[in-house]
């Protein structure tokens, strides 16, 4: 049975609907990341799970117990806020112990619990300081300590890393992942950063305008996006989305894509794909930058690699890889080459398209057709 269950959840402020029929379920010990652009409702969804905001209809269950009408303190949750929300008038130790104090845990037990958490998070030397005397990373740790100390059933994180600088963010990300692995806690985590989502999650829920777009494992979301929004939102650089036309090449389907000057490129679709559209239909080909490589760098296990010559428009060496931009179907197409691939600017180069990893969308609705 699912540990966290959200059924047909709706939330509206007056006439404005911000969450529209959300259905989610997560197992115990999972790490659910809610991701989406700002204003998509992900923070609101987290707040409704926390009980900080009421819901208009639907149901939220934590560990099999319906918590719709429960107050935040009765839901056995802990939350880490974006601004950390450390009580400015209390020391670090008092901050961490506050939740236990409110639950009338005796002082000796509280002290013991605080010491344990401080040990885990390596903040023992900070316990007598005030939050104003801490750095951003230290505040972040204290905020996590305050959540950890109560050993709740469910942890909620609201964009906890967005106030940290880039390097610290990567460190804390690793730290959170390590904590999750070692403590086996169940976490719901909100972020707008798709890399955070990919690295941390066991399950990702992509939201847009209050609608749940896709819910699945990071690999499913990344490799099998249900629509162009998810395809575009996840991944950096995002998936290439190139308009083309569905054609028959022999017995198999293929996508024909316009190319400046020369004949259209015809890219066959893998045989094991179910294509739901008839030939002649306009489609959008979705292909990740790493599925377009230099010929030597092509995936040796891929069954369906097509060579395409294209003129290079931009070459961006990024150290580990080199991103090469070409024009196809009137769009910029980004290819991810090995850093040592011999690519010259404004010259015609052979690219290897791994069509095993290509997907097709309907241009009007943006939904998957293959």
């Amino acid at each position: 049975m699912a540990f966290l269950e959200i059924n047909r959840l709706e939330k509206s402020y007056g006439a404005m609907s911000v969450l529209k029929g959300i259905n989610l379920a997560m197992e115990e010990g999972g790490f659910l990341v809610l991701v989406g652009p700002s204003g998509c409702g992900k923070s609101t969804l987290l707040n409704t799970i926390a009980g900080l905001e009421s819901i208009s209809s639907g149901e939220i269950k934590i560990a099999g117990r319906r918590v719709n009408d429960r107050r935040p303190s009765e839901r056995d949750i802990a939350m880490v806020f974006q601004s950390y929300a450390l009580y400015p008038n209390m020391t670090v130790a008092q901050n961490i112990a506050f939740g236990l104090e409110m639950r009338k845990v005796p002082k000796p037990e509280r002290d013991k619990a605080v010491a344990e958490v401080a040990e885990t998070l390596q903040i023992g030397h900070l316990l007598n300081r005030k939050p104003s005397q801490l750095s951003g990373g230290q505040r972040q740790r204290v905020a996590m300590g305050r959540a950890l100390v109560r050993k709740p059933k469910l942890f909620l994180f609201d964009e906890p890393l967005s106030n940290l600088d880039a390097k610290l963010r990567v460190d804390m990300r690793t730290e959170i992942k390590r904590l999750h692995n070692s403590l086996g806690t169940t976490i719901v985590y909100v972020t707008h950063d798709q890399i955070e989502a990919m690295t941390l999650a066991t399950k990702i829920a992509v939201l847009k305008d209050g609608h749940l777009q896709q819910f699945g494992t990071p690999a499913e979301i990344y490799n099998d996006p249900v629509n162009t929004f998810v395809a575009d939102f996840m991944g950096s650089p995002p998936m290439n989305l190139v308009p083309g036309e569905l054609v028959m090449s022999g017995k198999a389907y293929a996508v024909a894509i316009e190319r400046d000057g020369t004949a259209p490129v015809v890219l066959p679709i893998a045989n094991d794909r179910t294509v739901v559209s008839p030939a002649g239909q306009k489609v959008v080909l979705g292909i990740r930058p790493e599925a377009i490589t230099d010929v030597d760098g092509a995936d040796r296990n891929a069954k369906n690699v097509i060579r395409v010559s294209c003129r290079t428009e931009v070459v961006e060496p990024a150290g580990s890889d080199t991103f090469v931009v070409t024009r196809l179907g009137g769009k910029d197409v980004v290819a991810r080459m090995r850093s040592d691939a011999a690519v010259k600017l404004h010259s015609t180069t052979d690219f290897a398209y791994n069509m095993d990893r290509a997907v097709l969308f309907d241009p009007a609705s943006g939904n998957r057709v293959a």
Partner: protein, 298 residues
Amino acid sequence: MTAQVSTIADTRSESSPRSAPRVLLYAVLILFAIYYLLPLFIMVVNSVKPLSEIQGGNMLSLPAQWTLEPWQKAWNEAQIGVQATGLQPYFLNSILMVVPAVAISTILGALNGYVLTKYRFPGHKIVFGLMLFACFIPFQIVLIPTARILGTLGIAGTIYGLILVHVVYGLGFTTLYFRNYYEAFPTELVRAAQVDGASFFKIFYRILLPSSGPIIVVTVIWQFTNVWNDFLFGASFSGPNAMPITVALNNLVNSSTGVKEYNVHFAGALLAALPTLIVYIVAGRFFVRGLMSGAVKG
């Protein structure tokens, strides 16, 4: 850091010798200081000289013979009511009125501000607008309805009646102060405390109140000054036993029998003004700080 700033300031004042605008600035400031201090000076010097010297026409000069007798007379001998009690009992009345009135209106204002910013309900803006409106109602308009209400409650002519009137009248201001202060208070802290299991009042006095020092000082000074200095409500709603010092002072100064003892009147006026002066001197610097906080972050 501080050292650096001060050295910069020093070099600046040294490098630019007193320029004409600066001299003008100081001249104007000193002029205004004299303008404001002169009445106080006259009150003080005349309160410590015998009546004969004032009657001799030496109002501006320092006393030839120093005496504290006018103060002593104003405090416990002057004829105010039926008995010659001096201002003493009325001073006590004012204290008995002002302390609960300030405390209650400040606490209620803080609670209002807390609810209006952190527990928003539909129509919270209208409620706040109406409370704000209360700040602009002139005292005179509400005299008769207030008298009726106090009569109905059976506390007309008592200190309790005055406390109630001042609490109700002060609520608009105290709510305004606390609401604006708590508006800038991070809501996430309240949410964190909710998740931690703190109740409505626990959040209030464990999280919000400890951070409310500046605004409490502002509110207390404001309320203390207003309630202490109020004359109209005091004159309208106090019986002979509940009369606050402002009304008593008026009775002292305006008594039409006998010789006008100006020195006693000055001493009485200073006695009546002393508590507010002390409050300003003790808490004045927090007052400015409190008015500014919220305007500037941190």
